[in-house]
């Protein structure tokens, strides 16, 4: 049954799959997730990153800020001039690239997780209120989304960071305040559909308060969509942090971050190309991990959602 559904989902995404979702939807979803190579590969990449971030002091061969001025701009160990003590080479101050990459995973993951959770909570809450209550609440939220979307996201986050000042907490706050609209727009239109379902009316008739109806009936219905968006948002947060640290507007200069490494490497790109390629690779692999996971979740949880999530 599940296998059939899975294949059907791949062949024709546009066909309604709702009637088959009668028995134990969550268990079926979980089974789908385990069979999805996307979820497995994406999850695997992210698991490795989490290990790197958590165990950074044990995994990194050197202090990420230790300057070895006798070993500047070393290539990775596998090339002729490389040294075994710096497996991936060093930057222009003789800092160990591998150690900086491993520590950089910390900033990336902290931002990815906290900023996207924050954006999710803010965006989803406003979407639930707007979609469920309608009226002036909906009007207000929709106008706010419109106002926010009149700026390219990168421009808005840069303005916010200028206003707040640099630092990890402020970067996270800026990303939350920019990207809540990504959740709000999509989930609001989903709530508008869910609100008209009979079981929502039934809950109200059974004496549920508005809050309880939202929490127990509406939220679970949009949860798969929220989860998918969350995963994609984590990738976006990693990119935004890298952009901000590339222009020197993210974390303090003593904190190793991948965007900073790219900016540093850019100055010496003619002599030492690895200093740029490695952090770029780290960012791409991380974002790919989140996107694969999000893509897999989208397919496994509900093929019907595909269209809406993209837009």
């Amino acid at each position: 049954m599940t296998a059939v559904r899975h294949q059907a989902a791949q062949a024709t995404a546009a066909q309604p799959a709702a009637p088959q979702r009668t028995q134990g939807p969550w268990r079926a979803m979980l089974r789908n997730l385990r069979r999805s190579p996307r979820v497995m590969v994406g999850g695997g990449i992210l698991a490795i990153l989490v290990v790197c971030a958590l165990l950074a002091p044990h995994l990194a061969p050197h202090d990420p800020n230790h300057q070895d001025l006798l070993a500047q701009l070393l290539p990775p160990a596998w090339s002729a001039e490389g040294k075994a003590e710096h497996p991936l080479g060093t930057d222009n101050l003789g800092r160990d690239t591998l150690s900086r990459l491993i520590y950089g995973a910390r900033v990336a993951l902290v931002v990815a997780i906290t900023a996207s959770l924050g954006a999710m909570v803010l965006g989803t809450t406003l979407a639930l209120l707007a979609g469920y209550f309608g009226g002036w609440v909906d009007w207000l939220v929709s106008r706010a989304v419109e106002l926010w979307l009149s700026f390219p996201p990168v421009v808005l986050s840069l303005i916010l960071i200028v206003g707040f000042g640099i630092g990890l907490g402020n970067v996270i706050l800026a990303i939350i305040l920019v990207d809540w609209t990504r959740f709000c727009r999509v989930i609001r239109s989903e709530v508008l559909i869910v609100r008209r379902q009979d079981y929502v009316d039934a809950a109200r008739l059974a004496g549920f308060s508005h809050f309880r109806t939202l929490w127990r009936e509406v939220l679970p219905a949009v949860a798969p969509l929220v989860l998918t968006l969350l995963s994609l948002e984590m990738g976006i947060a990693v990119i935004v942090e890298a952009i901000l640290s590339f222009v020197g507007m993210s974390v303090e200069s003593t904190v190793p971050a991948w965007g900073v490494m790219i900016a540093d490497g850019r100055r010496d790109m003619f002599q030492a190309v690895w200093g740029m390629i490695l952090p770029i690779g780290a960012i791409i692999v991380t974002v790919l991990g989140f996107n694969l996971l999000g893509d897999g979740l989208r397919r496994a949880l509900d093929p019907k959602l595909r269209q809406r999530v993209i837009q």
Binding site: Q15, P152, V154, V155, G165, F246, V247, M269
Partner: protein, 339 residues
């Protein structure tokens, strides 16, 4: 239908006006939170307390925030944006000098993005049900994971440094110049009848425009593919098949036209993101547009420039969205009747 398209445009402009005003308030208020002192960065390090205070007064920064905003708003309404702190020049003139460069880049990038997006979408549609489908799917996920600023760096490393096919800095080779007429370099080259310089300018724009396009195209690809998939279920496609049309004819005559509309709608959002992408891409290519100017101003805490450029971005996004909406309206007869 009286007024038609123009009525719609007029209505949209009226709606856009309060959004621009609110956007300007948002930017202004956020920037007044700034922890760094913009005055301290613009006076010499040995300035006395009185000199700093005099500077603060000259810039109007001693006034309460709403008065500062009114002054700025009244300047906007007269067409100026105040003076830059670092350059001591009117902001609107600085923007006027760099904006054409950015517009040129965005137009070229949007052109590339459309071509790549449509070609990719059609290719993925073609691969449907073949062994290549999974590969194309994974490929598009991979391409989608690379933001435009990483494409920009990657293209510099590959085509600039390693292969040395294209230049990757500025708008023209050093030593070449064209008299400035419109500010749009490509147009100026044509006015001056200098085809060699035209090609040189185009070469300089190629890599940044491609980087922007690669950041935008994958999503267009996906949406086109999934709308083609949806359209394939429609009765008129079955009908066409029954009438004996080949798959290619069905695609060209029926499916593509209908599947293109959702893609076009998405382009509005995507091209405004693309406009934002110029920020980093211009910095990376040393391209003298407003994005480069903005990042420079951010580093110098030059508030008048940041505010001015932010406002230009907001207006640009609204204009792009309006343009796309009008196009959708022109191309979709259903919507025309509905209004």
């Amino acid at each position: 239908m009286s007024g038609g398209i123009f009525g719609v445009i007029a209505r949209r402009i009226i709606v856009a006006f309060p959004i621009v005003v609110l956007a300007s308030i948002l930017v202004f208020v956020v920037l007044r939170l700034i922890p760094a002192d913009p005055v301290a960065m613009s006076v010499p390090p040995n300035a006395t307390r009185d000199e700093v205070e005099a500077m603060r007064r000259a810039l109007g920064l001693h006034l309460p925030i709403h008065e500062q905003y009114w002054i700025w708003l009244s300047k906007i309404l007269t067409g100026t944006l105040g003076n830059s702190i670092t350059f001591a020049q009117p902001v609107h003139r600085l923007i006027g000098q760099s904006l054409p460069a950015t517009i040129e880049l965005v137009v070229l990038a949007a052109f590339f993005a459309t071509i790549i997006g449509l070609a990719g979408g059609l290719l993925m549609h073609r691969l449907q049900g073949t062994a290549g489908e999974q590969a194309a799917d994974l490929g598009s996920t991979l391409i989608m994971s690379v933001p435009e600023f990483l494409w920009a760096i990657f293209f510099i490393l590959l085509f600039g440094v390693a292969l040395q096919w294209f230049p990757f800095s500025g708008r023209l080779d050093p030593g070449i110049s064209v008299p400035r007429e419109t500010g749009f370099l490509l147009i100026d080259c044509l006015i001056a009848a200098r085809p060699g310089v035209f090609l040189n300018a185009l070469e300089h724009m190629l890599l940044p425009a491609l980087a922007l396009a690669f950041g935008t195209a994958p999503l267009l690809m996906r949406v086109l593919r999934s709308s083609l998939m949806e359209v394939a279920q429609e009765d008129y496609v079955t009908m066409a098949r029954l009438r004996g049309l080949s798959e290619r004819q069905i695609l060209v005559r029926h499916a593509f036209k209908n599947a293109f509309l959702p893609t076009l709608t998405l382009m509005g959002v995507q091209f405004s993101f693309l406009f934002g992408g110029t920020l980093l891409v211009e910095v990376i290519y040393g391209y003298p547009g407003i994005g480069n100017m903005m990042v420079e101003a951010v580093r110098n805490a030059d508030l008048p420039i940041i505010q001015g450029v932010a406002l230009v971005y907001a207006v640009a996004v609204l204009v792009i969205n309006l343009g796309v909406d009008v196009l959708v309206l022109l191309l979709n007869p259903k919507l025309r009747v509905a209004r």
